[in-house]
Amino acid sequence: MLDVVLSFAVILIVFLALPLIIGQTEHKVMAHMQSRLGPMYAGGFHGWAQLIADGVKFAQKEDVIPAAADRRIFMIAPGVALVPYLVVLIAIPIDRGRVAVDLDLGLFFVLAVMGVGVLGSIMAGWASANKYSVLGGMRSAAQLMSYELPLVLAASSVAMAAGTLSLPGIVEAWQWWWLPWQAIGGVVFFLAGLAELRRPPFDMPIAESEIIMGPMTEYTGMRFALFMLSEYAGIVVLSFLTTVLFLGGWHGPFLPGWLWTLIKVFVLAFVVIWLRVSYPRLREDQLQKLAWAGLVPLALVQLALTGVVKVLI
């Protein structure tokens, strides 16, 4: 029982603290990449408390629900977007033997639950009864459709390599030469995951300069904050999954395992931020084309490579 309480406490810390840390890192890293300073006032030292200040502001803001909206769906959509990312964390190992629940179906469970998160923004888009939001919701749906397939194919390549679907089992089976062996799958998985999170450069459904945040146009205050939190929790989950599946999780010399996991997660989160600053937004048809003509064939190549190497060696 104590074990369970402890691992839940770790999950909650990861879920509530890491998104804020990554959000603050994004503020500062983006700013410096664009030759700005970023937040400098809140909290005194280099604006470290900026996101806390944002949170306090969000908590006090009026909650406006448009008269035309589908009230009930509109109200629960942020929850549907956020909660799956918390539930996913239950199956992700942080160190050898440090996982809340070692699910036999871990990989399958994680992919299935992550898919639910996208429903939140489709619900929000439709329930807002706003033209921008409907467009954004449709684009979210299209993006989920297209990028789920390469994501699933790349993930199953790892399952083939390890011969198990349990996430701790996969990390246990991991060896360093999987890095080059599963490299294509890793890149496909990470990019497809980014697209599912609708992070730039895959942020066509949100596109603030064109359809004004898409599904989130009508949201204010706490509900908007929950959507923002779900975006960053999504980055945390995606980085954890890529670490566990492709970068060997806790494996690494000298340092303790949990620290290696965290280091890899932060490096990947940095890459997420870096990509946002470096690439312009893809147009909707370019997005679809990248998925079907780029990532899916690459994932199939990875499956073939995994199968051949696994059977012949």
Binding site: M1, F8, I11, L12, A59, Q60, K61, E62, D63, V64, P66, A67, A68, G79, L82, V83, L86, V87, L89, I90, A100, V101, L103, D104, L107, S128, A129, N130, K131, Y132, S133, V134, L135, M138, A142, M145, S146, L149, V152, L153, S156, A159, M160, G163, T164, L165, E218, G221, M222, L226, Q288, K289, W292, A293, V296, L300, L303, A304, G307, V311
Partner: protein, 135 residues
């Protein structure tokens, strides 16, 4: 294994469904976090709705027509593609865990290439039908 109560707890928590009981517990915690945040928001926020504030946002002008406007959904074909391939992909997972078990090996490898061939054929077909281009 001590008292009867302890045994009962183990039986629930160690079984196959036990792990999903924990998943359900975490789900409940997640719902509680969201509900708590919204409840705190309800206590702290003002509430002064006006008709203007509650109109649909359309860049400052009065909204034209309905929000649920008709539009051409160009990517519905992708939905079909996705359904076809995702159903295939689900079968990959159980297969992936056993495909190199003793006694399989070569034959499952050939089967895999048949599977990959089918998916690739599907994508080439969609490509040739110009599903992947918009205009």
């Amino acid at each position: 294994m001590g008292s009867r109560g302890r045994l009962g707890y183990d039986r629930v928590m160690d079984g196959y469904f036990g792990s999903y009981v924990l998943v359900a517990a975490l789900l409940a915690i997640g719902v509680a976090i969201v509900a708590g945040a919204l409840m705190a928001n309800r206590l702290l926020r003002p509430s002064r709705p006006t008709p203007e504030k509650l109109t649909t946002y359309e860049c400052g002008v009065d909204p034209v027509g309905e929000g649920w406007a008709q539009s051409q959904v160009r990517y519905y074909v992708f939905t079909y593609l996705y359904v076809v391939f995702a159903v295939d992909a689900v079968f990959l997972f159980p297969w992936a865990t056993v495909f190199d078990a003793p006694g399989y090996g070569m034959s499952t490898l050939v089967e895999m290439f048949v599977f990959l061939g089918f998916i690739a054929l599907g994508i080439v077909y969609a490509w040739r039908k110009r599903v992947l281009t918009w205009t």
